[in-house]
Amino acid sequence: MSLLYVDNLKVSYGGIEALKGISIRVEKGEIVTLIGANGAGKSTTLRAISGLVPLKEGTITYDGQVISGQTPQKIVSEGIGMVPEGRRVFPNLTVLENLKIGAYLRKDDLQPDLEHVYQLFPRLQERSWQLAGTLSGGEQQMLAVGRALMMRPKLLMMDEPSLGLAPKVIQDIFSIIQRLHEEGITILLVEQNANAALKIADSAYVLETGSLGMHGTGMELLGDERVKEAYLGKTTRT
């Protein structure tokens, strides 16, 4: 049984169909990536799974339960964490408060989780009393990931975590994704940086203006000529 199964998902925004019936499977322990151009519906897919946008059709099943139609709070509490596009840390809260608010629904001791996040991102510990709005883009991204981890998600969805970051920071983010994967967290990654995403993905889907295109393992798509041409840039110069 898949951890997450999105079946025939349709979403419209004011009459325009952003998703035209897509189906995705995420198996437990995998890194699954959605790649595609701007406006293909990648973010909409994640937003629909997390309950932020209403579905027009389709069902989303997580861990054997139908979660489509539930509130975002309910979906978070089931163990689906989200690192939203553009990081969206709370600029008026301190780093520590941002982490604590990530565990808003939890009532137990947060200390072990804080230590875990600080171990992954030592910079956050150094800056724990700083307002999140004063962090650099890379640090904010780390905070957004750390914040999502505080809820102890089983499935972590990440929306364009490399967007607008320096190449060195992007490398760090991707190595963190792999580390989380090794810790057993299932990851659904949306990326425009298709090259980096496909390299680490067990399974990958290509989205094209609201419909599903190719599907395969990360390596299969990485080697595919059409994917190369459309999303990876032509690197096959001889």
């Binding site: 997390s50 309950g51 932020l52 509130t71 975002p72 709070q73 978070v76 509490s77 989200m82 939203p84 969206r88 709370f90 600029p91 008026n92 809260l93 408060e97 604590k100 608010i101 990530g102 808003y104 629904l105 914040r147 809820m151």
Partner: protein, 307 residues
Amino acid sequence: MWNTVFPYLLSGISVGGQYALIAIGYTMVYGILRLINFAHGDVFMVAGIIMIYISASGMPLYVCIPLVILFTALIGFLIERVAYKPLRSAPRMSVMISAIGVSYTLQNLVLYITGGLNKQYPTIPWISDSVTIGPATTKIVTVVTPFLTIFLVVALVLLINKTKIGMAMRAVSKDFETSQLMGININSVISTTFVIGSFLAGVGSILYFTNYNTVIQTSGAMPGLKAFVAAVFGGIGSIPGAVIGAFIIGIVENIIKGMDVILFKSGVIARPLGLATFSDAFTFALLIIILVVKPTGLFGEKATDKV
């Protein structure tokens, strides 16, 4: 000179405290919903009316006062649920018009119940007693108000900065969507904001009407507007800003009320000029000046999103 100014200063501080308790409701609701809650002044007035009718039922004051505050908080909660929540994703202008509608509904309702007559506010013992401080003779409520205001403001600031619900309020005021992703129920956070704002307006109404003695359906309009100006003056969205703005407006307004006497006694003018008439106009002149010179107010943040 001091002897002449002091009584006006004292009542200015007191009125300022009462404005502050109303202004916080405006500024908090704006902070979270970007909505000017035009009904807030009327909630304040309704709190006065509730006091009159509850105390007329013969219940002792120590029961009446908590009940008034409780009902006022409940009214704030209900207004949000009925008139604003259904418009959560509507344009901001719609919500504002809904707020104006609530304002008139409350006024008309009170007009219907009272028949448009001035209602006598009950005399609350002790705080209605007279007290003499130096050259000023006033009611004890005048002296109590600023202290109670400061106490409540400190408690509120602690709530917002130190508690989980306060943290959620700060988060929701920045980003509804991400707050939901954290598992925060934004509707209950917004309700809490209205409950706190109305609670403070309820406390403010007890202090204010003890001073002014009568309540009529339009009694909320002027203090409501003054408190709104105070909130804008301090930087709407900022609680310390609203409080400081309210004290400044209260003090200056009362000094202007006493300007004739002060100038006359100090020999600057030979006969009264009737300057007190302009004390209200002053408040709004101040609003215009702020909006021109510093649109974000004393402590307002730089506008990231505007209507």
